[in-house]
């Protein structure tokens, strides 16, 4: 049973590491601000959830798990709100997203 | 061993961030970087077991000071002014002061040394008796709130007054500017 939990939390933490690093790589590699938003949202959702879940598995049924779940819950709600706020502020101040060339016509509306 | 490595890595990032702050001339970038700086130093405090200091650093450094600095930028310009003054003398002063400070740390007791003067005076008494006397699980809390209660009350009053003052300065100025803006709008409409 402990072995199973260990394996599961290994998988979760490794997955969390993978997605967080991928988010960082995307933040560096993507060409403009609007695509970088999406890269950050990878590490914010998948990376964060997997990390929290892996740590929960290691902590077992203790107060620590309660705190972890609280952290996960808050970040689950505040993360997208913050992303939305960034995107909205950028749009309002006039930073336009680039539109793919073949889609330009139907964006005129 | 692992903690040493973590500390080294965190310090490396801290120094890089500090250098980046010095090099940057866009003030918004400086504000964001200083937020990151205080996040990093709070992580260092956590690895050094100073959880309470990390708490304060989180609340003040990353939260409030970022907001206050942004409020200040709203009243001034967005980029650093270039100046051509001589930089040799300030540099010399910085190097000398830094060297003196580092020389001073040589006399300090080791990290976590049980025979350090600070750990010999009243600290053992607090550690052994605070649970019975105050009945608060966190010793730091019982020292701050009970043994040094008046001190903390004075501190809180000072910080509160300072906060009100800063807020008054920031909001008062932006209020005046807002009125000017409105007057300009009216002039444009007229």
């Amino acid at each position: 049973m402990t072995l199973l939990i260990d394996i599961l939390s290994w998988v979760c933490i490794l997955g969390g590491v993978f997605f967080t690093v991928v988010g960082g790589i995307g933040l560096l590699r993507f060409p403009d601000f609007w695509s970088r938003l999406h890269a950050v949202s990878v590490s914010d959702s998948a990376g964060m959830l997997l990390f929290i879940f892996g740590m929960c598995l290691q902590a077992g049924f203790t107060l620590v798990t309660v705190k972890l779940i609280l952290i996960g819950f808050f970040m689950f709600i505040t993360g997208p709100t913050a992303t939305h706020a960034i995107a909205n502020a950028a749009l309002v101040t006039g930073l336009r997203p680039p539109v793919a060339d073949d889609l330009k016509e139907d964006d005129a509306a | 061993m692992i903690e040493t490595l973590i500390n080294i890595a965190l310090f490396a990032m801290l120094i890089t961030t500090a250098l980046a702050i010095v090099r940057m001339d866009r003030l918004f970038g400086v504000v964001m970087l200083s937020g990151v700086f205080s996040l990093l130093s709070a992580m260092l405090f956590v690895t050094l077991d100073a959880v309470d200091v990390a708490f304060t650093e989180a609340a003040v450094g990353a939260g409030i000071s970022t907001v206050l600095m942004l409020g200040t930028i709203a009243l001034t310009s967005r980029t650093e002014k270039r100046h051509n003054k001589r930089r040799l003398v300030p540099m010399l002063v910085c190097v000398v002061v830094g060297a003196v400070l580092i020389y001073g740390t040589a006399d300090m007791p080791d990290f976590g040394d049980p025979n350090a003067p600070a750990n010999l005076h009243v600290a053992p008494y607090y550690l052994t008796d605070s649970i019975e006397e105050i009945d608060v699980p966190n010793v730091v809390t019982s020292i701050l709130a009970s043994y040094r209660g008046y001190d903390t009350m004075g501190e809180t009053a000072v910080v509160f007054t300072a906060g009100i003052g800063v807020l008054l300065i920031l909001s008062g100025l932006s209020g005046r500017r807002r009125r000017e803006d409105e007057e300009e709008d009216e002039e444009e409409q007229a």
């Binding site: 060409p31 695509s35 949202s41 959702s45 993360g79 939305h84 793919a100 964006d107 | 009945d135 966190n138």
Partner: protein
């Protein structure tokens, strides 16, 4: 959160909570800014499970886009309708869009959102309409 539950400390906690609730209540009398919590409890759990699956799928998609050598991004900004009535349900819908990597709610207006997509494909609006219907089911308790 210290794990100590003596009556004195729990009492202090309860007292400060009551005081802050009282203060906030007095402030709320002034600005009347309340959000009624009316959601269907079973549907929201179902919705969360479904959302987890969607997050996993879209994460893998965006990860592929990040790691691919030629970065096949096709960005677009498009409108999607939102049929929810209450603000809370609209917030849930907008946050769900943002939470699935690859799409971000950029601007909210009364009955539609502007959504920015990283790898836009022509059936994306249909997928968002599906999500919209699911959130509506959470709000009203009807069938998804």
């Amino acid at each position: 959160m210290s794990g100590v539950y003596s009556p004195l400390i729990v009492g202090f906690g309860a007292m400060s909570a009551v005081i802050s609730v009282f203060v906030i209540h007095r402030m709320n009398v002034v600005d009347q800014d309340r959000i009624p919590l009316q959601l269907h409890p079973v549907r929201i759990v179902q919705y969360w499970l479904w959302l987890m699956g969607e997050i996993a799928k879209s994460n893998i998609a965006v990860t592929k886009a990040i790691l691919a050598r030629d970065m096949p991004i096709r960005q677009n900004l498009f409108k999607t309708n939102c049929s929810q009535k209450t603000e809370l349900a609209q917030v849930i819908f907008a946050n769900s869009i943002t939470l699935t990597p690859g799409t971000i709610t950029v601007e909210t207006e009364d009955d539609h959102f502007w959504v920015h997509a990283l790898c836009y494909s022509d059936d994306d609006p249909a997928a968002l309409d599906d999500m919209d219907a699911r959130v509506l089911a959470v709000e009203t308790g009807g069938k998804a």
